[in-house]
Symmetry: C2
Subunit: 232 residues, 2 copies
């Protein structure tokens, strides 16, 4: 019953976790640019070369943090979505959107890490792109379920609007099956606006115009839910 895991291997996992936690804290205090392996080591009471036992270099640590951020956000949104009956699109939509905003406000610097200015000369590996789709998959799933319950559409009722060419319809169809492609632009707009709102709020662009961002966010999400034709 005891796992075959050796104490050393367990300790290693723990140390990696600690390094990442300390890094997250430091990023929170001084931003990404201020993250240094030396400081992480210092904070952990280790000598400056110790972290290199766990991460080959600074970029590798950064990649791990970015990946974690995407996954952490993705998991939060999935959890929020799962709390509602799958047929209640509107409740799910609001829950998912609120989860994005809540996570962002709780982890502003990690949010900046993944949705702010890209780190210059840092190239995100494929793995992070994969993790980045967790949120879009949730949103796509909500729309899919909504459309699954609708009476079948007159085929090609709006075929002229099908966005062949400028969208990657194959990918989008995979993320929101059953949603007619002529809805993709609207869907992408809604997705963009969720993050646009959160970024504007977090980065200070609503100062002087929005007094209560909580209320404003609810209103905006309601508008979007209407535009998307979400029911219930």
């Amino acid at each position: 019953m005891a796992t075959t895991t050796t104490p050393r291997a367990e300790a290693r996992i723990l140390q990696i976790e600690t390094i990442k936690e300390v890094s997250r804290r430091l990023i929170g205090e001084k931003g990404v640019a201020g993250l240094s392996l030396r400081e992480v080591a210092r904070e952990m009471g280790l000598v400056s070369s110790a972290p290199y036992r766990y991460f080959a270099n600074r970029d590798e640590l950064l990649t791990a943090l970015i990946l974690d951020a995407y996954n952490d956000l993705g998991a939060a949104v999935e959890r929020a979505d799962a709390r509602h009956s799958s047929s209640n699109s509107r409740a799910r939509w609001h829950a998912a959107a609120r989860a994005v905003r809540k996570w962002a406000k709780q982890h502003p610097h990690e949010y900046g890490l993944i949705y702010g200015t890209p780190v210059p000369n840092y190239e995100a590996p494929l793995l992070t792109i994969e993790a980045a789709t967790r949120v879009t998959r949730v949103l796509g799933g909500i729309l899919s379920d909504e459309w699954a319950r609708r009476p079948a559409r007159a085929a090609n009722s709006a075929a002229g609007n099908t966005p062949r060419g400028f969208l990657m319809v194959e990918n989008l169809s995979e993320q929101m099956p059953r949603v007619p492609p002529d809805q993709f632009v609207k869907a992408l707009m809604a997705w963009t606006l969720i993050f646009g709102f959160v970024s504007f709020e977090l980065f200070g662009h609503y100062v002087g115009t929005v007094r209560n961002a909580n209320v404003m966010f609810e209103r905006v999400m309601n508008e979007l839910a209407d535009d998307l034709g979400l029911s219930q």
Copy 2:
């Protein structure tokens, strides 16, 4: 006719301009964090302490660059808007939106400077906030002119929706006079989506979904123009 300006004063203005130009180039190459007064000096063939004759410290230079970026973008948008007959709201809207995107793509790092992750521990002075409103004033002006041409509304036709409380209605009314306050949420959504789109595009979040961002942008702006009820 010759201005009373002294050669030394002229040279000073020129040097300041050069420092900022070099800084913009360096930011373009290595991001904001990579901007250093020493490197600017080196690039200009000056000794490392020379720039301190012009900027008291790094933050002051950064402030100047941020201010310039807001003003440069603001001027570009104003110019684009002015190219159209003031009664053609729709053309003006598209022109302004395109100008934002075009400027952002031409100056991606300066865009990141003002609309990306805020520089940590850097507090934007009031002056920059002022400059930041140039874009919103143009957008507000377009809506104002649109509503000025509409038949007067039944007073308080939708009074229940007037966003008293959660929006700073006074400021918004000043930026878009004649637009009924129940339209403010829509207006803010449109503004947010312009920048949300541009940020998503620039920061790489449309990889895998949008193939031709030019076309997509036009479609999105069209949708927004419809939602805002822009005519012509």
